[in-house]
Chain length 408, copies 2
């Protein structure tokens, strides 16, 4: 008998019929001889509707109250999924974040899980029940309701799996697993049987939005093996786990793309300590997420910094930079470029193989695609290209590394 | 500075604009120099919608889960009302049933308040906040969410008022107060400045549905003075409190009516111990609320019992009685009469005045209304009349006791 945590997102519990499907799947998993803990999100659309109501009272509703409001979405789901299980004759109990013993810290609406006290869940499981746990919520040290922010239900599932010592944690979603590239762009993209936490993290931060990075980080930290699989069929998905010797031996695990990027380049910065920090602080204060950062000394002796960010943030970035550049130097100037996209190759095999960049750049060159910025990490190479060529770029690189074929 | 508890029902918080009105009223009460605790219900319609969703999974959803589901309605309201207060610049905190320290016992969906630990509310008040407390909910000794059943928010308001030592508890509703009779029927009905708990209880159980009996009982038990007043204007309402010497000195405080009643009479019951109990148990098991009970020995030596109940329950009552009567005696037979209504005169003055029944019966006789059943308590006389004449009956009795005039 295995103990299985299953996470169902808002789409999976979006209607009465879909809630019935979730109950049927939980029942089948139990009938196969397993204990089941289902972690569920709010019904699709409910959270957005509640946010809309809150916004009626101002653009920045109090976050303590947002937590009280938004946590009701998951609380409704756990009651309804439990009732659907009862309808099928399955003993089931709803478990709120508080009852699950999920202790959180941090600001309201952006809670971080600090610890889970699984005693109540354990006793309910031991009594033979299926558990239906509210995702996305916990309790502060002061006993207040706390939500975990975007992707919070994935995080709940992985943390609960760690706390109850689950044998596996299944993240049931609307994709079949993790692919070598987005199959809508690269039709011969291949579903990966396994991927390492580190690769999954790099893909998540490179635009492959299967899961939020912090859920993967939490799983890595606590050694929770999880599987990304479809809630619509029974196909095996992709296991995410620590790198191990029997893993498919590849140089590149996958290719991801991110569209709608923009580049900001600042030229004429005096080559003195503290300049970069002032510029980055100005962007940070304006809550602009920057992605790639490249810095160099130009031939004129001034430094030049380039950043990428989402194209939507470009206007705000220019506004935030204006005053700080005026302070720094009369020569400092901003150049911007929108209409670019980012292509990333990710793979732990890269550590021990040279020539990855060469293969990637040659593939792009052969189809006439010019490379803009280049940035690397230990297991990733990312480049920017013209956004109109990003799909061609993905197909060329995918083919160059033979990602459509399972390795020998 | 007074500490005022205000209770707002589902209609009062039914839309974003009405929530703003509630916030405005709370702010005004604070601006007049008071501390305020607002107890709020779920937005009108929300609870029914949630019940509808639950029923999709069967006619009798698990009550533990119903409590988890339904308590979200009030939790949403407290967050939204708090946000509306913030919009007006009022410091406000939402307080769930758990945070309010409302400890309950009894079955799920029908909780009874056993105690309130007001420490958290006290500290939040002392810090200068308006509090917005979720009505209708508490926490079981096991830490589970518990709802209080119909009228539960009134009960919460009165219990919170007792626990925090409020100076007054205002039940804000869609009526102006408690009247000598329903003004839609008796145009010269008069709003009462005060009414005793006992009179309010008799009126509540006699069809004047301003409040549930158990809320009034709770207020009486803990000596909470409360005021029924309109949420739409600032008119003073009706104070409900213990009888005191300065109260208006009247024989009859008010007249209430209840329509759609039916009479069931069982004849041919052997005059032996235990017969009534078997009949009443059969009706109780079928969850039929019976109101008046009259029993007598007929001239043939058999007993005859008469009950009144809501006309909707008549069919179920006949079905429930059939098997038990067959067991009791071959002679036992059921007669039914629908199309009747009940008229009640209520007043603590009745204790010390004779002739109340005479005045009432004479008034009815003068307008040609025949009296069916009669039933009395220490402070109430109730009669049944033909439903088509109930409004005439109410006007005649109201006039006979001069209820339109304030006593000298």
């Amino acid at each position: 008998m295995a103990l299985i945590v299953q996470k169902y997102g808002g789409t999976s519990v979006g209607t009465i019929d879909r809630i019935r499907n979730v109950a049927t799947r939980v029942k089948r998993t139990r009938d196969e001889g397993n204990q089941v803990v289902a972690v569920v999100s709010a019904m699709g659309g409910v959270t957005d509707k509640l946010i809309g109501m809150a916004r009626e009272f101002g653009d920045t509703p109090a976050e303590r109250e947002m937590d009280v409001l938004l946590s009701t979405g998951e609380q409704q789901s756990i009651a309804l999924v439990s009732m659907a299980l009862h309808e099928l004759g399955v003993p089931a109990l709803s478990i709120t974040g508080r009852q699950a013993g999920i202790r959180t810290i941090g600001s309201h609406t952006r809670g971080r899980i600090e610890a889970i006290d699984p005693d109540y869940m354990r006793s309910c499981l031991d009594a033979g029940n299926a558990l239906v746990v509210a995702g996305f919520q916990g309790i502060t040290p002061e006993g207040l309701i706390h939500t975990l922010g975007r992707g919070g239900s994935d995080l709940t599932a992985i943390a609960v799996a760690a706390a109850v010592g689950a044998d596996v944690c299944q993240i049931l979603t609307d994709v079949d697993g993790v692919y070598t590239c987005d199959p809508r762009i690269v039709p011969d993209a291949r579903k990966l049987p396994e991927i390492s936490y580190d690769e999954m993290l790099e893909l998540a931060s490179s635009g492959a939005k299967v899961m939020q990075s912090r859920s993967v980080e939490f799983a890595k930290k606590y050694g929770v093996i999880f599987e990304v699989r479809s809630s619509l069929n029974d196909n095996p998905g992709t296991l995410v786990l620590e790198e191990h010797p029997d893993m498919e031996n590849v140089v590149i695990r996958g290719v991801s793309i991110e569209r709608s990027q923009a580049r900001v380049t600042i030229i004429g910065i005096p080559d003195e300590p503290g300049m970069s920090a002032r510029i980055l602080c100005a962007l940070g204060d304006a809550e602009i997420n920057i992605d790639m950062i490249i810095s160099n000394i130009a031939s004129d002796g001034y430094a030049r910094h380039s950043f990428t960010m989402h194209a939507n943030d470009l206007g705000r970035a220019q506004a935030a930079l204006k005053p700080v550049l005026a302070e720094i130097s009369a020569q400092a100037k901003v150049e911007t470029e929108a209409g670019i996209a980012k292509l990333s190759c990710v793979g732990i095999g890269m550590r021990s193989h040279s020539g990855v960049a060469a293969t990637m750049f040659r593939a792009l060159g052969e189809v006439g695609i010019n490379i803009g910025m280049i940035s690397t990490s230990e297991i990733k190479i990312a480049v920017t290209v013209d956004e109109t060529r990003i799909e061609d770029a993905a197909r060329a690189v995918h083919a160059a590394f033979d990602l459509d074929k399972a390795p020998a």
